[in-house]
């Protein structure tokens, strides 16, 4: 079995790494990675806006934002993918590649989860920070930009990194709508070999494991560093710790 795994990797490593590129669309691990990074980077500003809306006293922004977050947290990602797959071509009047469908879905989905993390981070700072900033003459946005967000985001870095790991795991769902990424590439190999499904998908699991395990490890280390740096300052109340809010797939 081990020899089989080694020979599959030797014969197919390029497909697993970049898909059929340059003869076809970029796929494999490269596509998974680009999709995850783009999703989290684009979801970040949306997440901040959602978090601010969720903390706003104005119902006109509070309610839609709250509804959006609850819908995203209550509906399976797969259902959201189907919605985007159906709605985006309808809205812009032309079909889009699966990669774009998946990107749009993940940005929406991740923004909801990131907004919960950021909101918890802001709440954990306590009101004193905001009051002090306002009393020093900052306006609301000035205080957010220069005082609140830098602290909240720094403290929440480990959670954001964990969310990135979740995003990598979520990109596998692109398999359902044939987005060329790592799981799709493994499936292509399996369809060609036909006789060694266990070996092929074991390779797939190992690759994901190595990537996600390393990133999770990095998040834990980062968390310990930040905790050490903040030792002596206020501790974050357990009910505001955002780990409990992140999604797993």
């Amino acid at each position: 079995m081990i020899e089989n795994i080694v020979s599959i990797v030797q014969e197919n490593w390029l497909l697993l790494l970049i898909g059929q590129y340059p003869n076809g669309p970029l796929g494999g691990l490269a596509s998974t990675f680009i999709l995850s990074v783009l999703s989290i980077v684009l979801a970040f500003p949306v997440g901040i806006l959602l978090a601010l809306a969720r903390l706003s006293p104005w119902r006109a922004v509070l309610w839609p934002a709250t509804a959006f977050v609850y819908v995203a947290r209550g509906v399976p990602l797969l259902m959201l993918i189907l919605w985007v797959y159906f709605m985006v071509p309808l809205l812009i009047g032309r079909t889009v590649p699966g990669f774009v469908t998946m990107l749009v879905t993940l940005v929406l989905y991740e923004a909801a989860f990131l907004s919960e993390i950021i909101r918890a981070g802001i709440l954990a700072l306590g009101r004193g920070q905001m009051e002090a900033a306002r009393s020093l003459g900052h306006g609301y946005f000035g205080a957010m930009r220069w005082v609140i967000l830098p602290q909240a985001l720094y403290n929440m870095l480990p959670s954001i990194l964990s969310q990135f790991v979740s995003t990598i795991k979520e990109t596998t769902l692109g398999y359902v709508i044939n987005v060329p990424e790592l799981t799709f590439a493994a499936n292509q190999i399996n369809n060609r070999l036909l006789t060694q499904p266990f070996e092929v998908f074991a390779i797939l699991a190992i690759v994901y494991y190595v990537i996600c395990w390393s990133l999770t490890k990095a998040a834990t280390t980062l968390e310990r560093r930040i905790a050490a740096k903040r030792a002596g300052t206020r501790r974050i109340a357990p009910e505001l710790r955002p780990q409990a809010l992140t999604a797993e797939l």
């Binding site: 209550g74 509906v75 399976p76 797969l78 259902m79 266990f198 998908f201 699991a205 999604a247 797993e248």
Partner: protein
């Protein structure tokens, strides 16, 4: 195609029947894998208490694998990989008995057990040691201090995470569609293909999922309220 008309889907007995069958299958998978995950979560917690290093390392490896490999890949590995390694008689038996549903329950259950056991463990660890010592000093025996002091607090601390993970387990039941189980998301795609009413079909399924998720969250909030005691954080 005319305007938005949910009734056009719901009043058609064929489509309504498919959607209801899908919801039923989603419940079978969700409840089945939740039960498996919770039992296994407790079992792994007990194994971890065995004072042999290998027991702890085994559970740690189990948790690490199931948390770092995407759930969909785990399901695919079960259904396409492990299935093919089984003895032939067992394969025949399974294919006669909804193999995709059985593997979905096993895959999702084993995966979620890793999350549940960690939630239970951190609930247990969050109770300060002094609590049990104080209980013993007050005359409680081992069992009694567990029953009245340690476990109620551990339960209270573990509850929020357990509820969150139960919601994600319910949502993840939709992944069973990728290995061919005819649960709600699967039924949605079939109804959509037959009725050409994509918007309505998706809306019905989305509402169904949302209502169930919110219901689980509400039950969780109720349990947390009941577990709350005066003076506790």
């Amino acid at each position: 195609m005319s305007g938005f008309d949910v009734l056009a889907v719901l009043s058609n007995p064929e489509f309504a029947g498919m959607l209801i069958a899908g919801i039923q299958m989603t419940f079978v998978i969700a409840v089945g894998s939740w039960t498996l995950a919770m039992s296994l979560g407790f079992l792994l917690l007990v194994i971890r208490q065995i004072p042999v290093p290998i027991a702890d390392r085994f559970v740690a490896a189990y948790v690490s694998y199931h948390r770092n490999v995407p759930t969909l890949v785990q399901l695919i590995l079960w259904y396409f990989g492990i299935y093919s390694l089984l003895p032939e008689e067992l394969q025949y038996w399974l294919s006669d008995h909804n193999a995709e549903v059985i593997f979905a329950i096993i895959g999702l259950g084993l995966c979620q057990a890793a999350y549940f056991t960690e939630d239970l463990r951190s609930g247990l660890r969050s109770v300060p040691k002094g609590q049990v010592e104080a209980a013993r000093a007050l005359g409680h025996g081992h069992i009694s201090s567990m029953r009245y002091v340690l476990l109620p607090q551990a339960y209270r601390n573990a509850l929020p995470a357990l509820v969150n993970h139960s919601v994600s387990l319910f949502k993840n039941s939709s992944l069973a569609m990728a290995i061919g189980a005819s649960e709600l998301t699967h039924a949605v795609r079939e109804v959509e293909n037959l009725s050409f009413r994509t918007f309505e079909t998706y809306a019905i399924a989305t509402v169904a999922y949302l209502v169930c998720s919110l219901l689980i969250m509400a039950v969780g909030a109720l349990l947390m309220k009941r577990a709350q005691v005066a003076g506790a954080r």
